[in-house]
Amino acid sequence: MPTALSLTQRISALFSPAVVRPTLIAVSIFASPLVGSADEWGTIKGRFKFGGTAPKQADLKADKDPEVCGKHKLLAEELVVAEDGGVANVVVFVRDKSVKVHPDLAAGKNEKVVLDNKDCRFEPHVAVVQTGQQLVLKNSDTVGHNSNVATVKNPPSNSLIPAAGESTITFQSDEAIPAQVTCNIHPWMKSWIVVRSNPYAAVSKADGSFELKNVPAGDLELQFWHEKAGYLGEMTIGGKSEKVAKGRKKVKVAAGDNDLGELVLDASLFSK
């Protein structure tokens, strides 16, 4: 298209029937096809550490259904840091949607993911689910809950989940940002679901470690997210501070182990 046209002219031309549509190079904003060597697979791992002094998890006040929920010592889970500095609940996923999937992982999609309402909190705090995979919203408590699933690209839902009951949902498309799941009856209850169209998403464990197994070897883009920090814009990897705009980091995956080592997240990231 001639560049002399203004933005307005270019855009209006798109919708005007009189104009023959110029053939456009399909610039899909999402997928970039991957070039990886035939059938080699690697494991990406690493460990998130907190840079600075981590704040203590605040006590939550269980003022609804106190006779049941008051029995549990409930702590805020928006930032969970182990004694040795490991940061839990950091989400790591492969951003490329067209990523090749290892045959061993393909079947995992048929397993159900469970998000349990247990002891008046959600277990796990961050759940990973693939498009098309079943997410079971379960209630192991003796009181009723509801699960308000605030997805953006998928239809949101909010179902009553009675004691010992469950409700199953599935998703059609990826969510660009993990979606919050809350209980309106017990407002302190908060959790997150990561919805991806492939199995390459992980959540760091209590010690801060994460692992993405059987990733195709070659160039990939990872994305890092934490509920309190959003997409992590900066981290210190191998002693070197790196800016990772929108939490995106390009990596070259070799066959076998790819250990990113310690990924230090500065305290200032978590001030949201």
Binding site: L7, T8, R10, I11, S12, L14, F15, R21, L24, A26, V27, S28, I29, F30, S32, K64, D65, T142, V143, G144, N146, N148, A150, V152, P155, P156, S157, N158, S159, L160, I161, P162, A163, G165, S167, A176, I177, N184, I185, P187, A245, K246, R248, S268, S271, K272
Partner: protein, 427 residues
């Protein structure tokens, strides 16, 4: 954003921003009254809350505004692509300033009847909005509460017509039963138009985040992206709303009303339906009363982010910062200040949505047993009220409906004859 964001009042161009809409509307009135002759051109406001949240640059805001203008036209000259499924003739009847057309038919219905509450853009920022509780609906997220479809689905055209015909009892949303059927029909179409436009705007603004680095921060200028991937899926949900209508089985027979009410009461207080948790043991709506609906919650969350971000910025010492970090720090402070400013003009102070007081017998979504069935089955979209669907079987939902309908007259319940209810609690 010249050209798009500017409004012309009597050939005097003045930039439209923030509360300029209010001023603009007033100006229109003054101008018309003093016989200026020309009708001022109105413009849609950009969703500045979302633009700021997504940290869009001025260039990016301009790209969104340009696409929207080409796709949807202006408040005076609406256009719609065939993909929207909308009827441009109906839109023209609703759009524009209030006037008579060549056959003497009233035009400009939306601005005459709705804009002072719902805003010209459908952003619920009309001049009257701030004084109302609940606030008028902001159509832009495409979320509606009182409808016959499953929770996340769009209202059908008939649902919108019903809301317009009946109004929303217990709120300031009036009934438009005095308008002709054709006028109500045109207004319902216009609500869809503003919603599809608003949803498209949101989708475009959110798409910047997902761009690959080599897109250089620009959305693809292709029909494939703008229409096929963005507009069409949004419009499709509106076109297929009728397919998502809730199938309602007939009210159970073979049980007398008293027994049905007793069953409904048991369910209401029971662990499964759990209505009591929010609506309270008294049914007065005093259970879980400090929650927000989605529109207000979004603002509450932004407020939190601004507050904690500002606190942190204040505490951060810049001595010893690298030039790059200092630049970022300044950008963050500027962004926080901008956001605060944007909220001042483009958002209202968040209001909580208390669960309904069920002893009034006033139902916003309609008082037919069928309306209550829909509300309980699907919950209330955009509000904390959850769906009983899947948890409570259909015949039990009918028992609850009967109980709800009996609550305003209940004599022997929690607030029965032995515990007289205060008049002020009842009304």
């Amino acid at each position: 954003m010249n050209g798009i964001m500017n409004t012309t009042v009597c050939s005097v161009a003045r930039p439209l921003h923030k509360s300029a809409l209010v001023a603009g509307l007033l100006l229109c009135l003054i101008v018309t009254a003093t016989g200026c002759g020309r009708t001022p051109a109105a413009s849609f406001r950009l969703n500045m809350v979302e633009a700021t949240k997504q940290r869009l640059t001025t260039e990016q805001e301009k790209q969104v505004a340009t696409v929207l203008l080409a796709m949807f036209g202006t408040p005076d000259e609406p256009v719609c692509l065939p993909e929207t499924g909308l009827d441009e003739a109906k839109l023209r009847l609703s759009a524009g300033p209030v006037r008579s057309d060549i056959v003497g038919r009233k035009n400009g219905l939306y601005r005459e009847h709705c804009a002072h509450c719902h805003g010209v853009t459908g952003d619920a920022l009309g001049p009257t909005a701030a004084f109302l509780n609940p606030y008028p609906r902001d159509y832009r997220p495409g979320v509606f509460k009182f409808k016959s479809t499953e929770r996340a689905d769009k209202p059908t055209h008939a649902d919108l017509v019903r809301v317009l015909h009946n109004g929303i009892p217990g709120t300031s949303m009036p009934s438009f039963a005095l308008l002709s059927a054709a006028q109500v029909d045109a207004l319902a179409e216009y609500v869809k138009y503003l919603s599809i436009r608003g949803e498209t705007e949101l989708a475009l603004m959110r798409a910047f985040f997902e761009l690959d680095d080599d897109a250089l921060g620009k959305l693809p200028e292709s029909r494939e992206f703008l229409v096929d991937e963005t507009l069409a899926p949004i419009a499709e949900k509106w076109k297929t709303a009728a397919d998502a209508q809730i199938a309602v089985p007939p009210m159970p027979t073979g049980i007398d009303l008293v027994a049905s009410i007793a069953k409904g009461k048991e369910l209401f207080y029971g662990d499964k339906a759990n209505c009591v948790k929010c609506h309270g043991v008294t049914g007065l709506g005093d259970g879980q009363a400090n929650d927000y609906d989605d529109w207000n919650k979004a603002i509450v969350e932004i407020n939190k982010e601004i507050t904690s971000g500002s606190e942190k910025a204040r505490e951060t010492s810049t001595s010893g910062m690298s030039a790059e970090d200092l630049d970022e720090h300044r950008k963050q402070i500027a962004w926080l200040a901008k956001f605060d400013n944007v909220l001042d003009g483009d958002a209202l102070r968040p209001r909580t949505i208390p669960p309904r007081n069920l002893r009034h017998g006033i139902y916003r979504g309609g008082r037919r047993p069928l309306d209550l069935y829909y509300r309980i089955h699907a919950g209330i979209n955009g509000a904390p009220m959850p769906a009983a669907k899947g948890t409570v079987p259909p015949e039990d939902i009918w028992h609850i409906v009967n109980y709800i309908r009996s609550l305003p007259y209940e004599l022997d319940g929690e607030l029965g004859a032995d515990k007289p209810m205060l008049a002020r609690d009842r009304f």
